[in-house]
Point group: C2
Chain length 426, copies 2
């Protein structure tokens, strides 16, 4: 019988030391978000295959772990395609299940409904260093709130959380999907190919303005539209605004709105500016908030403000979110305003591990090592003492004293057991 020791391809085991940090972060997420009125819910790991392949998952729909139908014996001879064999899959995010959840339970939920979800998701990505096929997501979403209050509360909760985990010096990049559409309209890009334009724009940081120009032209977009578009981004200076504030690019936002004129939906720039100023004024730790018209975010379901946290320490995004007012409508029939934020839990936990983060207020750890010849009465005495210490919140392990007690004690010390006592037979 060949049993396999390694985890399945692309997945991993988590050992105690890392688990301790993860649990600490999860607990902090739970406690912090709770103070903002978010309540936890859970959906099954297995989702209907129809819901997963409904067109909301983007590239993730190609990465689904599919589950064989249960029940009647599989009829392999008659099965013509995967659809004959499969009726479920492992969820690839928490947003699709949340929309299904809301559709199923709307009548039992308060409005607005502020949901916290913490759970694993699965994507059959090509295995690579630091990315795994099972990973934890922690999402907060406000369903049923159409106004900026939702964005402000989400960003406020998320920044408070990062502050509590000793992160600072991060930047919230923010944009609005409707500004992107305004730009595309203004420049005269074909309505149907706007998503393509956005995807190329998203690369501005990496390939520069000349690179963007090249790609747009190569993709066959009209020269005039491309020139108009580049002009806009040449104007965006990304200089700090008022001294002392954490805002970057508010002036650019105003200039851009003026330029776009009627191409931009009414109220969009004012709404975004108000979110930016309120978030900045309410800061509880050091961070910047930057209007970034090149921020796109991958998912096409976004309909309003979108945002992302950039952290220098990591050199990438450690979370993001935005407004998606039409997605729930696909389950319910009528649209429900919705706005969510997903923190990059795995990256946050990794950064803390790499920093050698020390969890504050760790409890004391005692080890009692009982020689084999000890009587039951001696064992009882040790347990009594241990129980007292445990009641007071300490960690106590009771183990047999081993022959190689030097090594045993070294192992315990490495686990943080400072107080080690040996108990010998009377």
């Amino acid at each position: 019988m060949a049993l396999k020791k390694k985890p399945t391809t692309g997945m991993r085991d988590i050992l105690p030391e890392e688990m301790r940090i993860r649990e600490y972060v999860l607990d902090m997420i739970r406690k912090t978000y709770r103070t903002y009125g978010f309540t936890q819910i859970e959906t099954p790991a297995v989702e209907h295959i129809e819901n997963l392949t409904g067109g909301h998952g983007g590239e993730n729909e190609k990465l689904i772990f599919k589950i064989l139908k249960r029940g009647q014996k599989l009829d392999l001879e008659r099965a013509k395609s995967e659809e004959d064999l499969v009726d479920g899959g492992l969820r690839f995010d928490l947003t699709v299940p949340l929309c299904r959840f809301y559709a199923a339970h709307q009548a039992e939920l308060s409005s607005p409904f502020k949901a916290l979800q913490m759970g694993n998701v699965w994507r059959a990505d090509r295995p690579q260093r630091g990315r795994f096929r099972q990973f934890m997501q922690c999402d907060i979403d406000i369903l049923g709130e159409a106004s900026k209050i939702a964005e402000i509360e989400l960003i406020s909760a998320m920044t408070t959380l990062l502050g509590k985990l000793d992160f600072s010096q991060f930047t919230i990049r923010i944009n609005d999907r409707r500004i992107l559409i305004g730009i595309a309209d203004f420049c005269g890009f074909d309505k149907e190919r706007q998503d393509e334009v956005f995807i190329i724009l998203d690369k501005l940081d990496k390939i520069g303005i000349e690179g963007v120009k090249e790609e747009l032209i190569e993709s066959g977009f009209n020269d005039t539209a491309v020139e108009k578009c580049l002009d806009i981004f040449n104007d965006v200076s990304k200089t700090g605004d008022e001294a002392g504030s954490g805002i970057i690019g508010a002036d650019d936002l105003k200039k851009l709105a003026d330029k776009l004129g009627d191409s931009l939906e009414d109220g969009v720039s004012e709404n975004l500016l108000s979110i930016i100023e309120t978030v900045d004024a309410m800061r509880q730790c050091e961070f910047k908030i930057e209007f970034d018209p090149t921020l796109v975010r991958g998912m096409s379901y976004y309909t309003g403000p979108i945002f992302e946290i950039a952290m220098d320490e990591y050199g990438g995004s450690v979370g993001g979110g935005g407004r998606y007012d039409t997605m729930i409508g696909r389950f319910v029939g009528t649209d429900t305003p919705a706005c969510g934020f997903s923190i990059g839990f795995e990256r946050i936990a990794m950064l803390l591990m790499e920093r050698g983060y020390q969890i504050p207020d760790e409890e004391k750890k005692y080890a009692f090592l009982i020689e084999k010849k000890c009587t039951d009465d001696q064992i009882k005495q040790v347990i009594s003492k241990a129980n007292e210490l445990r009641s007071a919140g300490n960690t106590v392990t009771i183990d047999r004293l081993k022959k190689n007690k030097k090594f045993q004690k070294e192992q315990l010390a490495a686990l943080g057991y400072d107080n080690i006592e040996e108990i010998f037979a009377d």
Copy 2:
């Protein structure tokens, strides 16, 4: 596009009210077990299909959710059986993955290794009321400890936990797999059919001694063996032992050991008695511990003491475990002593829900309802106040004041928001 609102067959969504109790219980489990020196680990939900079908899962092996191979395009025409399509499955328990984990990471772990696992498992059971195809398991295991210290620590941790969750008046039923083997040997049952005998014995509580007799005879067991076996169980009186103690059946254990004589492995009854007496003496809440020679527990991998918690309130088992000293050997090559306990998390959570359990020390909840016409400055003032309250550990939700504010306030009150303040435009 037909999107489905209900969860997949046999699985369920968990709403905030229930989730709150579950998270409370999970937190209590984590904290309590931690004081006993257990450290948390995690294994992937997806396990190698070979490991799941290796013969350790008993009936559960028939209930596996199987996952289609990823990578090359599925070749349905050439696929002759499921094995050609499937290489993984969702784990049906936490014990098989734990053994694989230990085999893979032994060198990095302390010895003994005290593991806590909390995670979902999946079984494609026939859907029925109160049983779901995804459910949470919470296991503690001590690997590398051959002595009774392991059993005593596991039972002690588990009873302390139940006490903290306000359970009492439960009974720990305890037996030893080697006593069952001793009985079977003593009576002269065929070595190869002993497991069948045990399964019938297990029904004694339900079908009575006459029922057991009938089934044994019907199954074709030898009359003499059956008579000898029934004599043994007629002798077991299950009366209380010493007054004031929580022990039941210790005298029966001694009588049985005398009767079995050489059929029983040396030291087994003394070891079990010592566990029973120590656990009783160290009780931290009201419970009984009962030697029950009819306790079998389903899994054939047990090799020593086995135990189960019976709760009158529930009328069934709310957790169980035992020693399995040979299972890790199938992964590692050499046997490693192991002993574990799995609490019936879903049942515990259900019992607390049914009781209307009140979580102690709930925080205060404030709602600030902002009229739509309020200025940004007013919003900032509200957020400032909210942040102060949140820093002090309170829950504060900031929502828009709705037109139907009576209904809005009723919903909030139902969620426990006692302090509701409306903010109107100046």
